[in-house]
Symmetry: C2
Subunit: 415 residues, 2 copies
């Protein structure tokens, strides 16, 4: 039997036990894991150094090495993440619906764990712990498949967590790490219907597409964001500039940052030149539609491909539109249904935009950068869903649960 | 451009309009479609006769021909289904959650249509109307791909519905029928990411597996049910027999009927012989474990494969178990997580069973045959989900919706 199948089956064996655990027992395991990680800092750093050395030998880029690198501060931060997950309310067991039928059947729809969750991710050892913590808190077993260049780090981290779980009610089998570095082990995971209840990719667009294109197991698609901010004719110019700048430059590398600024022609006429200069000062390269270049002569022309690109960088498309409809049509064509914003003082326009734009989060007069589990108050997130099934937008703990109908009868049979 | 892609794009063009419709406008379209179908009975029956004739020429089985056949009564029944859907509450627009953040952001999570739903089904013309009705009621566009042997019927039905929609606010584009009879058109549908938000298979296990194995679009898996009834030591013998017989013979062909009866050894000793005779009288063939054959000498031996088979027929496996744990272990091994039942007077055993058995619906002292949208009070169902994402168990209208976060700010930016 392959490593992947064997470990998925072992994870499955933990499901019944996880189902019976109390919130306190799960929290105890999270806290024990946090403590063990901090206590094992030296061993984890030594393992991490093996990965880093291999990366340097292979000419890995410095930004990739930075994602891979652990320090004692980062390990403390990772442990703190587990402690925060322990503090969160446990959604498992919540009653979602109660149905009393005329025939006397009493039906309760109750939140339950999903079962076994597969996580496919890149060379970021922090995801190993974070994903494990969110899955355990919700009573799920987890099969982790991280990037092979973080294998030494991940192996040590999981070894430490297994050691911590030994002293708790959570079975060690609940946390599985796939060590096979070959791409085939990912492909195998993606087709483990019956053993994995869901696979969640965490990483860049190419990883996500690999998972979406190859999985037969249900997937929660996360990630890609081509987000727009539309400055309407009546937008407050100060607010508009603050929101647009924040959406682009507060952290350009993330999915909820803005890629294209849409500007009503009236607003543009009065304010675009000044706003463009502020972007320039912030180090942002502008790519502009023809009309916009009339006001921002130094901007390069924006192509159709530019409008369809998630830069995640200090680059911004600017387009002048005649009205709300043209703005919404642009978003419908190029958006990825992640986060979209209108800045306006016109309540009717705001309402139409929020009603008609099809995205996980639609903002009026606030930066798209708020699409985030912490900012929404969920306390932690496994990712931001860009699909419409199961969960949409920032996913808190509840996104890692399913439901079950508990039906109580006294002899009912169907006529 | 292929027919499939072209029609999916046309369906997509209807989405924005559908989003704006009121419940009354959607209901009007449903009622107009119902009326038009009844009014066009003769034309639909003539088209159906073409399909039936082709089927007879091709040697199609009589049970398949029966599923395919329409009569004026069946058309009236199909139209009545649409009228009932019109009566149901519209879930779109419901507020699911309200979040007020410390920074003043006001976030409302609202129910919205999924967008464009693909339905892949077999040669049952009633599904064409039923799926269309459920999708329209929830503001979704639908791309229908029915079995090619019902093509004439489906084409006429959709033509009639398009005619009815002409006079309403629902765009004709909202209902698309794929006419290409080749299997390749199904394969193409299953990979239309970005154009279809979800695909739902409706039909037998082989159709469902084709969809699950080949789709890159999110799927809601419906269907297969290997359901168990466990008669515990303290089960009331009359209730136990009534529930077990009902679960098997009230309608053996459906997914929530029982395939395996598990019997505690104490209950078996006193009651199994008599119960077996009642199954025999009802025309059920029994396949029994070795211990059970000691009490039912005429039963054939049950194989491992039998326990893993969804008969959907007058065949039942019987197995004697020593205790609750053995019953639950059997269900964990062979069940499909659909519907499971315990009959017992022991409240602690009932609670453990309902807590620990992993299935969409877990019954205490009632027949598994109740797992059904109508019986749960949802009024209609698009199917019974056997996966754990998005929807589990009978799916009412809400299962055909997603959600969206509407975020209201007054200039908030992220620090």
């Amino acid at each position: 039997m392959s490593e992947v199948r064997q470990k998925a089956e072992q994870a499955g064996q933990a499901v019944a036990v996880l189902n019976r655990l109390t919130t306190a027992q799960k929290n105890e395991a999270l806290l024990a894991s946090a403590e063990a990680l901090v206590r094992s800092t030296d061993a984890i750093l030594a393992a991490n150094e093996e990965d880093l050395q291999r990366g340097r030998d292979n000419g890995t880029s410095s930004s990739m090495l930075d994602r891979l690198a652990l320090t004692s501060e980062r390990i403390e931060g990772i442990a703190e993440g587990l402690r925060q997950i322990a503090e969160l309310p446990d959604p498992v067991g919540d009653v979602l619906e109660t149905l009393d039928r005329p025939n006397g059947l009493h039906i309760v729809k109750r939140r339950v764990p999903l079962g076994v969750i597969g996580i496919v991710y890149e060379a970021r050892p922090n995801v190993t712990v974070d994903a494990m913590g969110l899955c355990l808190k919700t009573g799920n077993a987890v099969v982790l498949r991280g990037g092979s260049s973080a294998l030494s780090s991940n192996r040590k981290i999981v070894e430490v967590i297994h050691g911590a779980l030994e002293g708790t009610q959570v079975p060690v089998n609940a946390v599985q790490l796939i060590e096979d570095p070959k791409r085939a082990s990912v492909d195998e995971m993606l087709k483990l219907n019956g053993l994995l209840d869901v696979v969640i990719p965490r990483g860049g667009n190419s990883l996500i597409q690999t998972v979406v294109q190859n999985a037969t197991v249900p997937v929660i698609e996360t990630g890609a964001g081509i987000c727009h901010t539309y400055l309407d004719a009546t937008a407050d110019p100060v607010m508009a500039a603050d929101i647009a700048l924040n959406a682009k430059v507060q952290r350009p590398s993330v999915c909820n940052s803005m890629e294209t600024l849409l500007v009503h022609e009236d607003f543009a006429e009065n304010h675009l030149t000044e706003l463009a200069n502020r972007f320039k000062e912030a180090g942002v390269e502008l790519r502009a539609s023809e009309a916009a270049r009339g006001l921002i002569s130094w901007a390069v022309p924006a192509t159709d491909e530019d409008f369809a690109t998630e830069y995640n960088d200090y680059i911004l498309n600017v387009k002048i539109v005649r009205n709300l409809d043209e703005a919404m049509a642009h978003i419908a064509r190029y958006g990825t249904k992640h986060s979209e914003c209108i800045v306006t003082q016109d309540a009717a326009n705001a309402e139409r935009f929020q009603q008609e734009v099809d995205a996980a989060a639609v903002y009026h007069n606030a930066s798209t950068r708020f699409t985030d589990g912490y900012e929404f108050g969920f306390g932690a997130e496994i990712g931001i869903s860009t699909q419409k099934l199961h969960a949409r937008g920032p996913m808190g703990l509840a996104a890692l649960t399913s439901s079950k109908y508990i039906v109580q009868g006294n002899g009912q049979i169907r006529q």
